[in-house]
């Protein structure tokens, strides 16, 4: 598998994962607790994806890992706030 194919595969995993989480959010539309759990798992999935992707590409630094954790945390906080209003 060359670099381009590996890159595409990683993005395919990300997009499919995000679509799955979006479907779960819709499916559990009226269960706040499960939606909160789905959002938390989605944020962890995203941060893990970013860190693993960069590790496989030998481009992982503390700053990059922190960036994915920050973005994942931000999205979780936004949805957590909306779910608890």
């Amino acid at each position: 598998m060359n670099d381009k194919e590996r890159h595409l595969l990683h993005y395919l995993i990300l997009v499919l994962g995000l679509i799955l989480f979006a479907l779960l959010l819709i499916f559990f539309k009226h269960n706040t607790l499960i939606q909160l759990l789905v959002t938390g798992l989605c944020s962890v999935f995203y941060a893990s994806w970013g860190i693993m992707h960069h590790a496989v590409e030998n481009r992982l630094t503390k700053a990059i890992a922190f960036e994915y954790i920050l973005i994942g945390g931000f999205v979780f906080l936004v949805i957590f706030t909306a779910l608890n209003l």
Binding site: L18, F21, H30, R59, I71, V75, V78, I79, L85
Partner: protein, 292 residues
């Protein structure tokens, strides 16, 4: 100075880093801002009760029609409005506002059945569905229908009667509308005599004059317009803030490609896709109210 200012929005070609508004520091500030906003929404209602709330336009007629429509689809009999159950539902809703709780059982241990029995409705079966913070009657019935335990009540073939209450008030500092739905089957079938001539759901729509008095009397009391509508505010926040960050990320992708800036950062496109999920969730997937 203007040349430096532009790098708040665009990646720096020499420093090879993101726009300042997408830096780690900025992202940390955004996280903090969301936490402050959350704290504000939780604390503000204590000092300014009724200012924040949920706009609603719910009425018992529509609840009655939509609920029976769902029963009709399942091949079940229409439920009939029972004045005693409606009065019991009114008392339950008022009790929740008066004692500041949102539960099937009140803090002093009063159960839904106590409200029903207090109206001399002698039941063999009874059930309760609750809803709050919804915008419309249709959303309430849809939410009940999509929840297995509430649907079980809604589509229970053993129930013959139903009573509704739609009451506005301030709960935990938030202006809202509480919906209480009581189901029942009288122990003594003769109890049904008073409601034998009730119109069907379809007749209710066509000829509102024939609605049971309980339904008509509740209609004017079924809408709230708080100073600040939380549902509208959170959706606006999702679009404005999501749009702001999304635009910065798109600018990052475009400008980096245009100037050939090789940044040693995370993938902007991945961040953009993840942000899209958040905006989607805020807009489409988050339920408009809560059921119990």
């Amino acid at each position: 100075m203007p040349a430096q200012f532009i790098y708040h929005f665009l990646p720096h070609p020499h420093k090879k880093e993101r726009a300042k508004l997408l830096s780690h520091k900025a992202l940390s500030v955004y996280c903090l801002a969301v936490l402050v906003l959350f704290a504000f929404f939780k604390i503000a209602p204590r000092f300014l009760p009724g200012v924040l709330g949920y706009a609603s336009n719910i009425n018992t007629k529509d609840l009655f029609v939509y609920a029976n429509k769902e029963r009709g689809k399942a091949g079940l009999n229409d439920l009939k409005i029972n004045d005693s159950l409606s009065k019991a539902a009114q008392n339950k809703a008022k009790d929740m506002f008066a004692n500041g709780y949102w539960a099937h059982v009140s803090p002093d241990g009063t159960e839904p059945w106590d409200f029903i029995l207090a109206q001399n409705y002698d039941y063999s079966r009874a059930g309760e569905n609750l809803a709050k913070n919804f915008n419309s009657s249709k959303e309430v019935v849809e939410a009940w229908y999509q929840s297995p335990s509430h649907r079980e009540n809604l589509l229970n073939k053993n129930y013959t009667d139903v009573g509704y209450a739609v009451v506005d008030g301030v709960l935990d500092g938030y202006e809202t509308t509480l919906v209480v739905q009581f189901f029942g089957t009288p122990r003594n079938p003769s109890y049904l005599a008073a409601v034998d001539t009730e119109p069907t759901a379809a007749q209710v729509v066509k000829n509102p004059v024939e609605l049971p008095s309980v339904l008509n009397s509740s209609l004017p009391k079924a809408s709230t317009v708080p100073t600040i509508d939380i549902a509208f505010l959170s959706r606006t926040f999702a679009v404005v803030f999501g749009g702001y960050l999304g635009l910065l990320l798109l600018l990052d992708i475009w400008y980096s490609k245009l100037k050939g800036i090789p940044k040693f950062t995370g993938h902007t496109f991945a961040h953009f896709a993840f942000l899209l999920l958040a905006v989607f969730g805020m807009w489409f997937a988050l339920a408009p109210g809560k059921i119990l």
